[in-house]
Each structure stands twice: as structure tokens, then as C-alpha cells.
Symmetry: C2
Subunit: 307 residues, 2 copies
């Protein structure tokens, strides 16, 4: 069984891309022709919303699958539509994997040990269904929040080892108020985000793949390049998942510091600027939303310059 970090690094090399496409299908921005078809079939229902989302995602995945290593559906935009939204989330994961993409389920889960174990089984492992083993979500990796400390993380580490999966733990997030808690400096003179970084690097130390990276990645916002540079030094074996590019304000220069000396060790996420590129395009109409997304990805690949 291949290590998650090896799969990811090899996919980055093969596709010559460090771009992660965020599948955040805000329904108000999905092309009209898709929405109308869904509403015709299912009226204005959660079923219609789920069906429109999956239809839209398929078009994006078809358009970008050969260009990027990984996609990241953000579950909030699916939970908006209850169980039908969750079905669309699961269908999206399956479809992306069938098309040769790795999938990070952006769910930011965490809880005390025994509950975190259930999350880990649901998203990365197997569920016990009356002694039959079934996979509920079966993503390649998930995002995890760290507020509860090590015993909320441990069950995820076990799933990583057992099933060749990965996690990305929030360290320094891209939002304006990320400093409220993350930037507080301790008596020992280091900030909470740095403390988290040291913990993460130790949590992943026992599970390092052939390429030299652990199964425990870090979420490090592109909007704070100074902090990112510090974090890159603290976590040499950690793959960074970098949000905040494009719509949130960061550019290629801001994310350079997230890569290591080999030009690897980071994936940079963009959501709105890719999947809804057709909205700003003069060349492509709504029926060509896939082509518009493809062009946006090619542009971002050029900007990041992974080779």
C-alpha cells in the first residue's frame, strides 16, 4: 500500500502542477443551464441542488483532471442540502478518484478520541456495518482542526497508517482574524501557530514516506507569507496545503515560501477563481464553464511554475 505523501508528490511531478482545485459549488454561481435541468427534473428541492452540484463538478473534473494532482471539495457547500448534498459530495469524491485525482475532503473535523475515531473511520477508513466493512466517504485525506490536542488527532493517524491516507491540520489559516488565537505568544516566546507546527512535525515523525514527507500535512494560509516562511523551517517533512490564493488575495510570490528547496512540499488551493472562471471570461459562455476552468488552471500552473 502506497504512502499518501508519496502518491501526492508523484502526482505533482507527473502533472507538473502544485494546484489543488477547490470544489466549493456555490449554487447561485452554477451555470443556469445546469440548474434549469435539475429543477425541471426534481423541482426546487435538495435533490435538485445535489444533482446540479454533481453535474457541475463532473464538468470541472473532466476539464482539469489531466492538469492537477488533487481536488478539495469543501463539505459546507454540500451540507447546505442535507443528505442529498452529502450524496453529491460522495459522488464527487468517487468521480474525481476514477479520473485519476487525489481528493482532500475539506471537513475540518475533530473531537475527543473516541469520537475522532468515528470521524477517521467515516472519511478515511471503514465503517463497521453489522460486522460488514463498508467505506462511507473514502477520501484520500481530510482537513482536521487541532483545538483538542493530540488525542483528537491520534485516531486519524491510525487511519492514515492503515489505509495509506493523509491529514492536513490547521496551523496558520488564511482568514483576517486567524491571529485571534493562532498569533498569541506564550511565555516561552513562541506563538500558538508555531507550537502547533512543532506538535505536527512530531505527530508525523513516525509515518514518513519514501519521498521524505509525513502523512500529517499542515494548512498554512497564503495570505501570511512571513509566517509561512517560519513554518516551512519548523516543518521540513510536512506537506503544506495552502489556501488563500486568488479570491482571498494572495499571489504567486506570496506562496513561494511554502515550497521547500526541491520546489516541492506544497499544494496551493484555488476555488472560486477556477471553478467559476466563466463568470469573468469574455471568451467562454456558461456552457463552456469547463474550458474556462481549464484555462484558469493552466494560467495558475504557469504562475506557480512547478516543473
Amino acid at each position: 500500500m502506497q504512502h499518501f505523501s508519496d502518491k501526492l508528490i508523484q502526482a505533482i511531478r507527473k502533472k507538473k502542477s502544485a494546484v489543488c482545485v477547490g470544489l466549493d459549488p456555490r449554487i447561485s454561481q452554477i451555470p443556469d443551464f445546469i440548474c434549469k435541468k435539475s429543477v425541471r427534473e426534481w423541482k426546487k428541492s435538495f435533490q435538485a441542488a445535489g444533482s446540479a452540484i454533481f453535474e457541475f463538478n463532473k464538468g470541472i473534473i473532466d476539464a482539469v483532471a489531466d492538469l492537477v494532482p488533487v481536488v478539495k471539495p469543501q463539505i459546507a457547500f454540500y451540507e447546505l442540502f442535507g443528505a442529498e448534498g452529502i450524496s453529491a459530495f460522495i459522488q464527487t469524491i468517487d468521480y474525481a478518484k476514477k479520473n485519476g485525482l487525489l481528493v482532500i475532503a475539506d471537513v475540518k473535523r475533530n473531537d475527543i478520541g473516541s469520537t475522532a475515531e468515528a470521524y477517521a473511520q467515516a472519511f478515511l477508513g471503514e465503517s463497521d456495518v453489522f460486522e460488514k466493512k463498508l467505506r462511507a466517504f473514502d477520501a484520500d485525506a481530510v482537513t482536521v482542526t487541532p483545538y483538542l490536542g493530540y488525542d483528537g488527532i491520534k485516531p486519524f493517524l491510525e487511519s492514515c497508517r492503515q489505509h495509506g491516507k493523509g491529514i492536513f491540520v490547521l496551523v496558520k489559516t488564511s482568514n483576517p482574524s486567524s491571529g485571534d488565537l493562532q498569533d498569541i505568544v506564550s511565555r516561552a516566546g513562541i506563538s500558538n501557530y508555531e507550537t502547533m507546527a512543532h506538535l505536527l512535525e512530531s505527530w508525523g515523525a513516525d509515518d514518513v514516506g519514501k519521498e521524505g514527507y509525513s502523512s500529517v500535512g499542515a494548512v498554512v494560509g497564503a495570505t501570511y507569507p512571513r509566517e509561512s516562511a517560519k513554518l516551512r523551517k519548523i516543518m521540513p517533512r510536512t506537506i503544506f496545503l495552502v489556501p488563500g490564493y486568488g479570491a482571498q488575495g494572495a499571489c504567486a510570490d506570496d506562496v513561494k515560501v511554502c515550497f521547500d528547496k526541491n520546489g516541492l512540499g506544497a499544494i496551493v488551493n484555488s476555488s472560486r477563481d477556477i471553478i467559476f472562471a466563466y463568470k469573468k471570461s469574455k471568451q467562454y459562455g456558461e456552457k463552456q464553464y469547463g474550458e474556462a476552468a481549464r484555462e484558469a488552471v493552466m494560467e495558475m500552473n504557469r504562475e506557480l511554475g512547478v516543473s
Copy 2:
């Protein structure tokens, strides 16, 4: 529209109970007769698991609805079974509300502002389904993690105001390693959990109900009574949701400090010790799992002594 904290305080007074029943339906502990019926109908599938969970929860809710103000389903144990598990989660919320209970969806969600907004709409507000407004989960309150600071909380506050809902933000959790991040002391000499408490109290300041409590509650673990006592002083207007009672090791003496001078301001959660009480009972067999749960609740009500 009634304020969430007023609804909760009034329910506590009416039922003379500060007990929150945790609906964490670990499928391996659900009575055999329920599991067998589900498997007969649906084979060993997620559908069977979801159906067994909802059937089990109905029995618990029927047995305790007149004795407690609130229940708290923990979504991890439902996500184990994909979309079918989520259906059982939604059915459980609806059934509990129809039976006069308040429902805290224990989902510990959080993200950057625009994503947190989608979570808030999904769990507390309304989803926009092609310009029609539908409610996806419609809980009375949710649990929220605070790692991203204020702009991950703000959208939830808006949903609270708009829809008479509440949130419970993690402050000091009940698990052994909660101190990894929460207990770090800043240069200013206060711990992260105290900092969070000060922030919470200010976040809720603009939305206080008639009973004097805000819509922003705090999760404060029963397993750390010294810390809880400090937190009670920092957050006079904040309702505490207190996990860690029973199976996790805390007793009635440990949680006394979570209540305020009026004997109010806290709800104490117990999950396994109530819903699976039949497992330890000599008096009740598995078909009487509801009666066993009812007796466990009455015992806990006596221990906590709210009147």
C-alpha cells in the same frame, strides 16, 4: 421569536433538569432486536445502519422527553454511514423537536467567514435552493470550534439572531490532551482557554436574552473542575455545555462549579451511561433499553439536584 437561551433556561426550569442526553448511537451497542429487524429489511447496508440508529433514537427520545430539556446527537456516529447516516441524523433532530426537546447538533464546525456562513445556514438557518428557502438540519444550536477566531464565528452569530438559535464554542474540552493547546500560558499570563473565554463573553454581549444569558455558550469539560470554576467567573452570561460526566470520569461534585449562583447556566451531557444503560442493568433486558435510559436519567437528575 424567542431567544435560544430563554428557551433553554425555561426548559431547564420546567423539566427541573440540567441533563443533556447525548445521542451517540454506536451501532455495536444498539440492541440486537433492532439491528436484526433493520438487516432483515435492508441487508447489511448503510440504509440498514441509518434505520437502526433512528429506530433506537426514537426509543430513547420517547423514554426521556419529559425528563430533560435537551438532547445532543454527535454527528460523527451518523457520518459513519454516509448520506443514509445523515438522513438518520436529520430524522432524529426532527423527532426530538416534535417531542418537545431542544436539540444541540454536536458538529464542531468552523471555517473562514464565507464557508462558516454556509455551515451556519445549513445547521441553524435556511439554504437557498434556487431562490426557495429550505431548512437542511434546523437544530436549535450547534457546537463550534474556535481555532480560526472571530470571522469563523460571526456568521453563526448572525444565524442565532435571525433564527433564535444558539452556539456552544469549545473553550476547555474534557479530553486528556486538551491542555496541549488550551493550557498554554501567554506572555500576558493567561491561558489560551481563558483568552477564549474572554473572547466568547464579548462575542455574545450584544445578544443577551431576558434570562440574562447570551446565545453564545461554551463547552467546558467536567473533567477539569478547577478550570471550570475560573471560567464560570470570566463568563457570567454564558451557558456552559458540560461534557465528560459519567463514562469520561466526572461526577456531580465536579460539575457544581459550572452552575451560577442561581443554580442555572449549565447543562451536563451524558451519552453512553444513559443511552446504553441497559447493557449494565440487571433489571432491564435489551427490549427495555428505553426504561433503562429513563432510570439512568432520573438518577442523574437526582445527582445534579436542579429544582
